[in-house]
Amino acid sequence: MSRYYLLQDQKKCIGCFSCEVHCKTYHGLPLGPRLTQIITVGPRMVAGVPRMSFVFMPCFHCEDPWCVPVCPTGAMRKRPGDGIVYVEPSLCVGCKSCITACPWGAPQWNPLTGKVVKCNYCMERVDQGLEPSCVTKCVTHCLHFGKASELDTTRRERFARSVAFELMNPSPVR
């Protein structure tokens, strides 16, 4: 099962698209495939102020992935040790079954190689004790990589701070 979790703290994300380029340069990708993508939603007015949402969309490395069982050659696989879902390029025949199967569009087509590429959490880096390239170089450090069992408390703490004194004081305190 996938041990890892990649958390995006949307409050700190400024939608600068840097993660996409960190990813593409690390994986040496040509025009086209985007192993992760920031999807911008908005702007729209929320409680009187304009807001935009930047949704970070890598591969989720599902515990029970759609893409692995549909792969006829065994190229799409899950690492037994830590559950990272990755493509073994020497086995990929470019049939695109995984692209069809994935509900989130994570597997991408590499026009240069005629094979599928996808986010593998930069597993060579993970194996060296490093973090995925998008996380290491994120401009605002809004991306966090860790084990799903060690849940990040940033958002809970921020929420707690924002409501902590609401009941004690008639006017909002920051």
């Binding site: 400024i14 939608g15 698209f17 840097s18 380029v21 340069t25 304009p50 605002t140 920051r174």
Partner: protein, 695 residues
């Protein structure tokens, strides 16, 4: 075998510290310098895309001499000796015949500016200029008029601010990484962000308060804020009494500028203006009215910039924790400054500058940077004298100076155009000779003093050998100077020679930079003592609301406010700006960055678009008195109905840049070349355009 090289990015002018991993003379990884607080590995899209720039075959690969008509793209490859001999020979002839003043040198201010200035002094021309005025000339002048310091000598203490007010200062898309992270961490601790802009930017969507101000009326808003602050005595009385001169004059001037008056001009409710004044005052002096760099570039820009700085002065936030600070350099920590080659003894130059900077055309502008928007006027009219040659280093007059067609027409009149550049940009393509510069990963450069609360010196170190037959700018200039009989002013062979010379009196060595790429000179932030220790550089030693710089030049400090007329229907103010993935005019052809933002579009208000029959995504024609251009419309309620907006730097016409060629519209083509004659900036947001569906 991998090695790590600490260096400094140059994908934009922020110059973030980086760590480059090199294997077999190839760059395999670039990250932000992990040792630098506020960076800690962080790098922007442009920074990572530096790898693609390094490998790009669509950049000049060897010296080239033009063989066909200008701009036609017919070149022959030359050796460095041949190209340098040719340029030096032509410059020598022109200098002989028309005098050294006929030669201009323009650049973006960079680490080697002390060397390019040396080059111009050595050949005897007064005409070195930088890109600066085009971006922030009026910010510079406004600061000098009030504090004696220019804008580059002042910083913002984002990390400790309690409330920051930004006028089109789109910090989260301008992307100075350290500033972004410092502000985000302050906001996480409760700091407030007020953002004012006719257009909703990313920064607007992160703000606690956003005002869609009527274009060009920011000055009226600020006068009303001052009115309220003075009337309700919300200012820092102790600071103002000690450090600010001219409060009475200011009070009399803003007396009629009531919030109700400003509401009619700006569209912002009077009650909200009053609320902001009170709210900011609660957090003084840890507050910032951000003075730069976009927003309201109008012919009266200098007074808008002054108004923001004056608001800081009233809040006591100049030289305050969480406010603005005067940057501290080496002398503040008891060391001597870096040496500069430009401080050598040269023959005195008595000729006036070509651009009237600091004299008749721009009496109080900063002549050490000049006013490049005068380029076409000076060449075409031989005013004040004939100009024959232009050398530009990473400076792109065609796309940076408003009214590209006139700039091209002026270039046609020159006898020699030389581009020292890393791109086939519009100017390089129009030049006679391209002397290709190595990119930042392929060269070392002069050391940078990063003055600030904690001064540092940072080193750009060469990571890999040049991919092509290119050379560093500091070497190209030395080799040109040698051929013009001025080699003695360039007593170096290698970058290490330059570093040793710079460090001579500082007590530091090159080796000190090896472990982290920079040297920190103070553990603690240096802020001057506020009671008696502030060192303003004005004649009076205080913040001069009535500026002696201005008054001595016969320029009023508080001219009457001129109301902004609404454009007639179908006509808009053209606003320009940037996004997070491109740098000015220089990255549109980068493969990775081009993929993210390949072209610009025209933001137009939903209601205005409907009345013109324009639909979202539809091609429209944008026309000014200068030119028309075609671009797709982005119909949105998130821009004021009186303005339209496009990203800067698109509409490339150079076929050698295949990815960017023909994509989007060029703003400089459409803009009129109008200037703030006091501040020195072109009024980049002043041009009126008509928009209609393209046939």
């Amino acid at each position: 075998m991998a090695s790590e090289v600490y260096s400094m990015c140059f994908m934009c002018s922020v110059r973030c510290p980086i760590k480059v991993t090199v294997e077999n003379d190839e760059v395999t990884w670039i990250e932000g310098n992990p040792h630098v607080p506020g960076i800690e590995g962080a790098l922007c899209a442009k920074g990572s895309a530096g790898i693609a720039l390094l490998r790009d075959h669509e950049r000049p690969q060897y010296p080239m001499i033009r063989t066909g008509p200008r701009g036609e793209g017919q070149w022959r490859r030359a050796t460095w000796d041949e190209a340098l001999d040719y340029v030096a020979g032509r410059l020598g002839e022109l200098r002989e015949k028309y005098g050294p003043r006929s030669i201009l040198f323009g650049e973006r201010t960079n680490l080697n500016t002390h060397i390019s200035k040396t080059f111009m002094k050595a050949i005897g021309s007064p005409n070195h200029f930088t890109h600066d005025a085009l971006c922030k000339g009026s910010v510079n002048t406004a600061f000098r008029s009030l504090t004696g310091y220019n804008d580059a000598q002042v910083g913002v203490d984002y990390a400790n601010t309690r409330h920051i007010v930004m006028y089109g200062r789109n910090l989260f898309e301008a992307l100075e990484i350290k500033s972004v992270n410092n502000l985000l961490s302050a906001m996480d601790k409760g700091a407030k962000l007020t953002y004012i802009d006719p257009r909703v930017t990313v920064t607007a969507t992160k703000a606690d308060r956003y005002w869609m101000i009527r274009p060009g009326t920011d000055l009226a808003l600020n006068y009303a804020l001052m009115h309220t602050i003075i009337k309700e005595r919300l200012y820092d009385a102790e600071y103002v009494r000690r450090w600010v001169l001219g409060l009475n004059e200011l009070q009399a001037f803003v007396e009629p500028c009531t919030p109700q008056w400003a509401e009619r001009e700006t569209g912002i409710p009077a009650s909200e203006i009053i609320a902001l004044a009170r709210e900011v005052a609660e957090d003084k002096p840890s507050v910032v009215f951000h003075y730069g760099y976009r927003g309201s570039h109008r012919p009266n820009e200098v007074y808008f910039r002054r108004s923001m700085i004056i608001l800081n002065a009233l809040m006591g936030s100049i030289e305050a924790k969480g406010g603005l600070f005067i940057k501290k350099g080496l002398q503040a920590v008891g060391r001597s400054d870096l040496k500069k080659y430009v401080d050598q003894d040269f023959e005195k130059i008595t000729e006036p500058r070509f651009d009237g900077s600091g004299s008749d055309m721009f009496p109080v502008a900063d002549a050490s940077h000049g006013n490049p928007q005068m380029l076409a006027h000076a060449i075409l009219n031989e005013d004040p004298y004939p100009i024959k040659a232009l050398i530009a280093n990473r400076f792109e007059p065609i796309e940076s100076i408003p009214d590209s067609s006139t700039t091209r027409r002026a270039l046609d009149k020159l006898d020699l155009i030389v581009a020292i550049d890393i791109h086939f940009n519009e100017f390089a393509w129009y030049s006679d000779v391209i002397l290709p510069e190595s990119i930042y990963l392929e060269r070392g450069d002069s050391l940078q003093v990063a003055a600030g609360l904690k001064p540092q010196i940072i080193m750009r170190r060469q990571a890999v050998t040049p991919r092509y037959d290119t050379r560093p700018g500091w070497l190209i200039l030395k080799q040109l100077a040698e051929r013009m009989g001025a080699g003695r002013y360039f007593p170096y062979e290698t970058i290490e020679d330059i570093w040793k010379f710079q460090l001579e009196n500082t007590g530091l060595n090159i080796e000190d930079f090896e472990s982290k790429g920079f040297v920190s000179l103070s553990d603690q932030p240096i802020l001057w003592e506020r009671k008696d220790g502030l060192k303003f550089k004005t004649a009076s030693g205080r913040v001069e609301l009535v500026s002696s710089l201005f008054e001595n030049a016969g320029i009023p400090s508080f001219p009457p406010y001129e109301p902004v007329q609404a454009p007639e229907e179908g006509t808009f103010r053209l606003h320009v700006g940037r996004c997070a993935v491109h740098t000015h005019v220089s990255t549109q052809n980068n493969p990775y960055l081009n993929e993210l933002v390949p072209e610009n579009d025209l933001w137009i208000n939903t209601v205005a678009a409907a009345s013109l029959g324009i639909k979202n995504g539809q091609p429209v024609e944008v026309s000014s008195s200068r030119a028309s251009s075609k671009v797709k419309a982005r119909v949105t309620e998130f821009i004021h109905p009186e303005a339209v907006f496009m990203l800067h730097g698109f509409g490339k016409t150079v076929p050698a840049q295949t990815r960017a060629f023909g994509k989007g519209a060029g703003d400089a083509l459409i803009q009129e070349n109008i200037s703030d004659r006091v501040g020195g900036s072109p009024a980049l947001d002043q041009t009126l355009v008509k928009v209609r569906p393209a046939s």
